[in-house]
Amino acid sequence: MLKVQGLCKRYGDTEVVRSLDLDVRRGECFGLLGPNGAGKTTTLRLLLGLIEPDCGSIEIDGIAVPQHAREARMKVGVVPQMDNLDPDFSVCENLLAYGRYFGMEKSAIAARVPELLEFAGLAGKADALIAQLSGGMKRRLTLARALVHDPDILFLDEPTTGLDPQARHLIWQGLRRLIADGKTIVLTTHFMDEAERLTDRLAILDHGRIVAEGSPRALIESHIEPVVVEVFGEGLADWTRNHAASLCRRFETVGETLFCYLDNADTVIDALKHAPTLRYLHRPSSLEDVFLKLTGRDLRD
């Protein structure tokens, strides 16, 4: 459905996207994970043909981009990172206007509006103004707007950034419905739980390059020990010096927390019983651990 080979994009001396290969199958939900500035949004803009790549090729459903970007975009629905609903229009008028950009007849769009509003959980809000909607409602309307022309593939750029937990769950629910309907989805995110919940496969992007690719489970199994004990509290530095190397298979200190990676946590937990000033959290390892291991723990601005 989406084939990308050797894609690259440079701004001056900065290589924002470096020889990127992607192969997203029809009906798959594919995640692009990466810290801020990893090249996620640039990649999406390249896929849409909004900017020209310096090298490489892109095909959406067999259509070459950017050469035939217009035809390709007919098949794509986009949920951008920043809401750009039309504030001069009501909820319903937003959908009508957007459908026209795809060359649809007013009657054809109007016939789809009730279904789209139902999908977005905005059934009673057809005449509401955009300013009256909550953040979650705006996102859901943006998602409905992306579906107005019934696209085969959806590009979502950080679809739940800035939403509260309830609103995020509603978006996820909508996305799962679309996946069940057989839509292909490409989404960028820096929320690990979102990627773990939704994606069949994902690629972790850093400095414009794919550093790992696979299903969330497979990535965890191949990159990280199954169990993590996070240790923190008074006297951590001493305990780390004396015990961490012998007890942990691998460990890292980040700020005031020791991350101890293991196959089995029993011995560490026994040892911690003799250190009453320390507290700990014992949990299975997650995608976040893989992400931090591969992209590092330094702050990205």
């Binding site: 909004l50 039309d86 206007a97 026209r100 950009y101």
Partner: protein, 261 residues
């Protein structure tokens, strides 16, 4: 900049963009039309009769007729300019409406052609309102000749719409547009014969005036109000088309650099 400069690819896809702006305008159509009518009418009545009663005829026409013809060009220039400066800037930069449209199968060429044709429409609306005032006050020589003012007004809208889009493309904020008004629009109003004949100016400024687009607009509109065929029609039409087209092409390049990089 140079690598973004290329001939526009025109397509019919600009129509939904025009239609979008029309739909928004329709919501406030009545105050908009009243504004279109009231503004030039106040000018013409106030200045035309008030100031005009103190002045001799200019080139064989009463001052109010002279002013009415100038106002046709001046107001339609303003209509297109305000549209592509403040309103287009809101849509492009503040509301990000253009970004949303560019995710659909439209190019920037389509979006900006939609904005340009909408600016032409706004000029037409403004021009028709002034024509109505001219007809109502009987300030014309030959009714049928005044109908030619309608395409002239569209041309003026195209010219200043295209030019204004360049400002839109390079502006960091609304405040920037003041430079355009202070340095381009206002001097043009004073140099191009809106309120007084260009022949009153020193020779040097008359030479400058001959190159300005508003002069060409007025040279077309004023004879048509009085009931004469303008001289040098081809020159004036070409000048307005060139200013507008160059503006559109340059604006496209700057806007590509701004949005699509």
């Amino acid at each position: 900049m140079i690598k973004h400069l290329r001939l526009p690819l025109l397509s019919w896809r600009f129509i939904p963009v025009w239609h979008r702006n029309y739909q928004v305008w329709k919501k406030l159509a009545i105050p908009a039309i009243l504004g279109n009518l009231a503004d030039p009418m106040l000018y013409m009545l106030g200045l035309g009769y008030g100031l005009g009663s103190l002045l001799p005829d200019i080139g064989g026409m009463p001052y109010i007729t002279f002013l009415a013809a100038g106002t046709v060009a001046y107001s339609t220039m303003n209509a297109a300019t305000f549209e592509v400066l403040y309103s287009s800037f809101s849509r492009m930069h503040v509301q990000r409406t253009w970004d949303a449209i560019l995710n659909a199968p439209l190019t920037l060429d389509d979006v900006m052609l939609g904005e340009l044709t909408w600016a032409v429409t706004k000029s037409l609306l403004s021009g028709l309102a002034i024509l109505a005032v001219i007809w109502g006050l009987g300030l014309f020589g030959n009714f049928w000749m005044t109908l030619w003012i309608i395409p002239v007004v569209a041309l003026v809208g195209f010219c200043f719409g295209g030019m204004g889009l360049v400002m839109n493309a390079v502006s960091p904020s609304y405040d920037f547009f003041l430079y355009y008004f202070t340095l381009v629009i206002t001097p043009m109003v004073l140099l191009c014969g809106v309120f007084f004949p260009v022949s009153q100016l020193p020779a040097l400024l008359q030479g400058v005036s001959a190159w300005l687009p508003l002069t060409h607009a007025i040279d077309l509109a004023r004879p048509l109000v009085v009931g004469n065929m303008p001289d040098n029609i081809l020159l004036h039409v070409t000048a307005l088309l060139v200013y507008g087209s160059l503006g559109y092409v340059i604006a496209l390049a700057f806007t590509r650099r701004r949005l699509l990089r």
